[in-house]
């Protein structure tokens, strides 16, 4: 049976990326060797790294003065690297969920953290209002909140450098990179298998803090060496390049945004229409295009487990909501075809008809 992959991350990858990676693991660029066993200093892999950086710049229209890095350790390591590199006296954070909460915790090790607003009072089911303090070294946001299904879908104007965790919505829409000081994220949603973290950083923000920074935690180390200071995660970087090529062949971020809006609207409309379900995020403008969270309507609460099993039997994978929200979550990343959304909607309708 065809599987519809709604995992929140690691999550569905384009067939193109999967096939190209599997081929390269058998034989990389006709070298007679596997991608897994070639030197990262080989000219063939150096080209992969350079091409991936260039494709990032092309797809996101990254202006001069920014560098693209591919690092290990996950976005969670960035939560510490950001204040290590950018926070001299004070930073500001918007708390829209558990990733933001974790980022705030790390920043507090480095000085004064102004949490400008939080939606924790309502299980993070909305994006709160906020004012950005002009005396902060930077302002940090999580643009998409995978667990709670909220998303900041526009590029903010900020009086201080804007730092955005875009782990789960990078490449889902055009981004005006010039409005950001730094954009970063784990690759394992819209880009690559887990194990590589991308960082887009405005170079002139670096080198302004007084503290000693361990070499591997200093962005300047990786800029200087083109992300090859130490052995990079070769397979994930190669897979990322394949997804970037797939994006280029499929109309880039503009085309992705169009389909992503279509897919999300289809599903949110069905959740609203279907008597059994309701969305967890009340305000339409706060709803994520990437992670659609929904629960049973109160009068059908006892059907939750039954719907999960029903949907699983129809080939739906990864639709269980995070334990802190409950219910269901369908992640609609770039690689998820519209047919999978339609299959989920059919499943919801069929289940409704039974009750």
């Amino acid at each position: 049976m065809k599987k519809h992959n709604f995992y929140a991350g690691p999550s569905i990858m384009p067939e193109f990326t999967i096939n190209k990676t599997a081929e390269a693991i058998k034989d990389f660029e006709g070298m007679g060797l596997s991608l897994m066993e070639i030197s990262h200093r080989s000219k063939q892999f150096e080209a992969v790294m350079e091409d991936a950086q260039q494709a990032f710049k092309d797809l996101l229209n990254i202006p001069e003065g920014y560098k693209v890095l591919f690092l290990g350790g996950g976005a969670s390591l960035q939560f510490a690297m950001i204040p290590f590199n950018l926070m001299q006296n004070k930073s500001a954070y918007l708390n829209t969920g558990s990733w933001a909460t974790k980022a705030i915790k790390e920043a507090k090790l480095f000085g004064d953290v102004d949490v400008v607003a939080s939606s924790e009072d309502k299980t993070f089911n909305y994006i709160p209002e906020f004012t950005i303090p002009k005396d902060a070294d930077y302002f940090h946001i999580t643009t998409n909140n995978t667990i709670y299904g909220t998303e900041i879908k526009e590029d903010l104007d900020s009086p201080v450098p804007l730092v955005a965790d875009m782990s789960s919505d990078i490449f889902s829409r055009p981004v005006d990179v010039s409005k950001y000081g730094m954009i970063y994220g784990g690759a394992q949603k819209n880009l690559a298998p887990s194990g590589v973290t991308f960082v887009i950083v405005k170079e002139d923000l670096l080198g302004k803090v007084d503290r000693d920074i361990p070499t591997m935690l200093d962005y300047r180390t990786h800029i200087k060496k083109g992300s090859m200071f130490n052995t990079p995660p070769v397979v994930p970087v190669y897979s990322a390049l394949q997804t970037l090529k797939w994006l280029q062949q499929n109309g880039g971020v503009e085309a992705m945004q169009k389909v992503n809006i279509e897919k999300a609207n289809l599903l949110y409309d069905e959740i609203q229409r279907n008597k059994l379900f309701k969305p967890t995020v009340a305000k339409e403008e706060d709803r994520s295009l990437m992670n659609v969270c929904f629960i049973m309507n109160d009068e059908y609460a006892e059907l939750e487990k039954e719907f999960f099993e029903f949907a699983t039997n129809k080939g739906m994978v990864g639709i269980k909501g995070h334990r802190s929200v409950g219910g269901f979550r369908a992640s609609l990343y770039n690689a998820l075809p519209k047919e999978s959304v339609e299959a989920l909607i059919d499943t919801m309708k069929e289940f409704e008809a039974k009750h």
Copy 2:
């Protein structure tokens, strides 16, 4: 033409690991999904992580009280994590090459570092004599020096916790883990594709320093969550498990050691015998079984480039020595078959006959 892969790292992997990984990238455990697109919280991947930890324990006979971790960021990140977690007042390091030098540099950010000995005076071509200070929080060694071709092939007795970077000789021989406080390394030599770092740490050494440790840099974070605090590098961890299974099916570290000694002896003997070449490491007991470094004899120095091209045309890959040593380096990791060593030796003999 068959390629003989002598890369220093990333380096040759067992066919078993390559094939299993390629298969899983197509379809993981019959899930109908790629290994690249499944949740790390799926029960199938949780089993991979647990099995990999268990196989480490079984293969290396790891005693109670030690934990096995799989982390991102590379061994270079460990250079900072080690003093972050273990160094209260003073640490001691043996400087046997560029990896040790880098580790020392990071430790100096955290306090007093006693470099007990260094072989830098002779381009690190020997293992120096040393005494371990009894007042150090730990003593750090690099057991195998990929660039210079030296190796500490025995488990030291240390009056303080012994911390060993075994990036390039883990699983090449039996190790008495009880003699170490911590063993760590990048996986990309004897274990897996790049992107995952293993750490074997004695749990009771942790939690003794006063400083705040960022969450991701604190070993206790990863111990508490079984290396799943954040999304682990799924593909590299899966590949590591395949290599661990391959090791188990092929007699474990005892069998590897036997073949590794055989392979290294064959090649060192030929280097000694062949009029064109000489080894860079003078003392036999200091010579690495993993990375055999050799240069042209003085009177044949001008033939270096010609031999490199001759060998390349015979299918030898990755035999160029590191630029700081020059000449040649043949890395003889576990997965390299004896036939490849014999092919290199034949090439050396054939080249000798021409001159």
